[in-house]
Amino acid sequence: MREELWGYRHLLVLICLFLLPSQAYSETDAHGGSGAFADEMMLFQEISSVYSASKYEQKVTEAPSSISIITADEIKKYGYRDLGEILKSIRGFYITDDRNYKYLGIRGFGLPSDYSNRILLLVDGITTNDNIYDAPLIGTEFPLEIDLIDRIEVVRGPSSSLYGSNAFFGIINVISKKGRVYKGTEISGEAGSFKTYKSRLSYGNKYQNGMEVLLSASYYQSRGDESLDYSDTYDEDPWICADDNPDNCYGLQEIWPGNTVAEDMDTDRYRNFFAKISFRDFTVEGNFHKRKKVIPTAPWETIFNKSNNYSIDTRSWIDVTYDHTYANSLTVVARVNYNYYKYAAEYPYAGDPDAGEADVVTGRDTAKGEWINSEIQVSKTYYERHRMMAGASYHGNLRQIQKNWYSGADTWGSLDDERHNDSWGAYFQDEFNIRDNIKLNGGLRYDHFRTFGDTLNPRIALIYNPVERSTVKAIYGSAFRSPSVYELYYNDGDTTAKANPDLNPERISTYELIYEQSVGKYLRVTITGFYYNIKDLIRQEKDPDDGLLVFKNVDDVSAKGVEFELEGKGENGLEGRISYSFQKTEDKQTGDVLTNSPKHLAKANMIIPIMEEKIFLGIEEQYTSKRSTLYREKQEGLPESLRAADYPSDHFTGSFFITNVTLYTRSILKDLEASASVYNLFNRKYGDPGAGEHFQDTIEQDGRTFRLKLTYSF
């Protein structure tokens, strides 16, 4: 009886809190006086400084999701070199680098051989995921020059109700700078470890007639680690069986002829051109990015230490956007963009001269995609309480070409596949201010894909401010990922892989509870709890009937976790954030924790002003707990006689701390910025899990590296 009364008392308190008039958004002042009284108070009243608030805008606290924002200022002061390094600093995110591409893991999900295609990556609202692999590129292959980034908004949680496919775990919106920021020309040069150099020339301005222009060109090259020693892997001598045939198994030592050091095999270079012109309501943006990476790990059983083992990614787009708010507060945004993506790779294989093959058979893999995206979105506020948005989009795949052939071996399979298809979607969202301190955000999107049909995805969020400066968000959303054309149709003439046109889309349902609290003038605390459930996860596995690799809807995965973050920014330039996330991601069929899924992630970032407004020290500390590798799965593919003695144990990458430090200066000399960075300050040895195509169980990452950077404006 007493417990019941206690429960009712709590319920009563909750009801009273619910019914309390809001203090957060009242338009009357503290004295309950009239507007007239408030007039001259606006002259005298203390106003929150923008310099301590520049990240905590309305968008973050009122958005129906958990959002992180990284600004251009932070990118400079922490010395980030690519988008992957930026994302790695964000709560709950981690990066896997196989020395060819970087891949993003979120909330414990980052399967090897996965192309991170469960995250939608936008640049200025333009989808950068290609139409072959649906992959967002986040390393040096990321198509926008890092120095052109104004800020990055990371929206966690399923966002298919607005964005459609790939917005599975969330979206990352990279916003480029405006031309007016430059007010002239800027030239930048970098030099770093491994003979890394980068140069950039940018020009931007806003003219009297209102036209705004930003032009930029940059070039990057790096020799990479000129001597990568894989003797550990060689000594382990892992086995593989070709065609799943137990009579055709061989160890690594058979195909690596005693040479275990990859020399000059880690080179990387790119060039980037960017142009953006805005005039009144129109913006035209064009981008071209081409990157070539030599691959030192000899994936896909290629010949080790052979220099024609590389991949080239080319990504470009041209976009025209119209954005206008009419007199009746109706906002219309319409855009159309043409996109191009090309992937080209060469892989050297050992041929069998006895079978009439060349000593070195060169495999060539290309993929080419051209597509058009168009979208129109209208939004308006009705009756002061409903902010409604509706939109429609069309995605037309003009070309989706996948080709694969081998020079020097006529009997090896080939692929020549070309597709055209399209999809369209329509969506609606209403942000309803139930009361001044309660907001309900609901959205629904319908998509039709020519490949698999229809899908409907809702999202609903309740945003409640129980007291001023506190926000509680309860969110449910579902999202989907349509299979990529690579997953559906890639086959190499049934040599190692085959197509599966019957794939279904993956689906995710996510529940989130978020609590955000401003503390004092400068601090903010965020606590998040989440649970997600993925159905029909698409994974590549070997078909036991024919030993060929094929993508299938095989798994159901669930994950739960909590995240905690404390961030603060003072007016004197001191700022920082510290976060911890715990996540447990498991295969619902087997109960196994997923491969490459760290249970614990912790990050600490701090910018310390050494000399006010002139010299800053940026320190970053990141902890990643151990992650299981594909070791056991690879062992399962071997005959029992060849399995390792410790089968079925899992192998793990070690846990590690990484420390990065940057000293950044500006205004010491007029118009000159300079920075000096040390990455992995304590030269920690650490690695990321290899994927199915790698012999390496763990791929070792770089030790301590340096970078100097100078930027001059005129």
């Binding site: 004295h31 009284f37 007039d39 001259e40 606006m42 009243q45 405006k178 506020t381």
Partner: protein, 316 residues
């Protein structure tokens, strides 16, 4: 020595006369002290500074003043009680500080001269015979001159305003702007919820954003949005006061509140000399000061001449 009776009478009469002169002197002196009722809208520091200037000026003119000070604290109840007290005890002049106290007094007192100090809006004073005052707002010409001086390249000046409050003001400002080779890019805001869309529109067209006295557009809740917009879009915001500049606005015109108080003292002195309050024209601050945010200027790559920086009253 013994005093004769006559001598005693003379001495007594002399003392009595002295006593009467003394009493008369006291009464006369007290009769010269002018009773002035002072009503604060609330106890803000600028109001206090204005009162100091007011007292100082009158003291310099040799006027003895007897101040009867009331802090209304924004309460109509307190205002009612204060006005009752003033009516009962009487006052030669009523000096109000702030719009709230001015409005309360104008509604209820019609016969006593009123000097309204530190107000933003003049509508209620128009046609009122027993009132005059000092408006905190600078003339539009002064504001535009400063704009041309500090932002010489800015031509398209964005203005957010609520038409119900500022339609007429904006119309006149637009005419003045044209004459001064400036173009006002106007955006109506009827409720604070319309602000984000209004700012988005201005992001494409405005070279600078001009803050005006508008209680719909400029509130504690909207201040953050406006300053963030300015920061993110590199569009300098011309703030309403030094507090705004401290928070991130590029610059603002500033007032010397003590000097404003002295101006009010001048008006009071004229009234004491016999002038009608209604015949003294409303005026603005005599001294034009300004504050600069050098951090914002650096961030927006705006270079102020050294002389401009040195002359700023406050630099952040």
């Amino acid at each position: 020595m013994l005093l004769t009776r006559q001598k005693k009478r003379v001495i007594t009469a002399g003392l009595l006369l002295l006593f009467l002169i003394l009493i008369y002197g006291i009464i006369t002196v007290n009769a010269k002290a002018v009773r002035i009722a002072v009503l604060f809208s609330n106890a803000n520091t600028p109001y206090q500074e204005a009162l100091t200037g007011f007292k100082q000026y009158l003291n310099e003119q040799g006027v003895e003043i007897d101040l009867n000070v009331h802090d209304l604290n924004g309460s109509k109840v307190t205002a009612g009680e204060a006005i009752k007290t003033i009516s009962k005890e009487g006052a030669r002049i009523i000096f109000t500080l702030g719009t709230f106290s001015t409005n309360e007094v104008l509604d209820q007192i019609k016969s006593v001269p009123i000097i309204a100090g530190m107000i933003l809006k003049t509508e209620k004073l128009k046609g009122v015979q027993n009132a005059t005052g000092i408006i905190l707002d600078f003339p539009v010409e002064t504001q535009f001159e400063m704009m041309r001086r500090l932002l010489p390249n800015a031509r398209a000046i964005g203005v957010l305003y609520n038409p119900e409050q500022n339609n007429e003001f904006i119309r006149r400002a637009a005419e003045t702007a044209k004459k001064m080779d400036l173009n006002l890019v106007l955006k109506e805001v009827h409720t604070p919820q319309e602000l984000p869309d209004a700012l988005r529109t201005l992001s494409k067209t405005a070279d600078a954003l001009w803050g005006i006295n508008d209680s719909v557009v400029y509130t504690p809740e909207t201040a953050k949005h406006i300053l963030l917009f300015s920061y993110r879009n590199q569009i300098p915001f011309i703030g309403l006061s030094s507090e705004w500049v401290k928070a991130g606005a590029l610059y603002s015109l500033d007032r010397d509140y003590k000097s404003i108080g002295r101006q009010c003292g001048e008006m009071a002195y004229k009234i004491l000399q016999g002038a009608d309050a209604g015949s003294i024209p409303l005026s603005g601050p005599r001294e034009v000061l300004y504050s600069l945010n050098l951090k914002t200027a650096q961030q927006m790559k705006i270079n102020f001449p050294e002389a401009v920086i040195q002359k700023a009253q406050t630099r952040y």
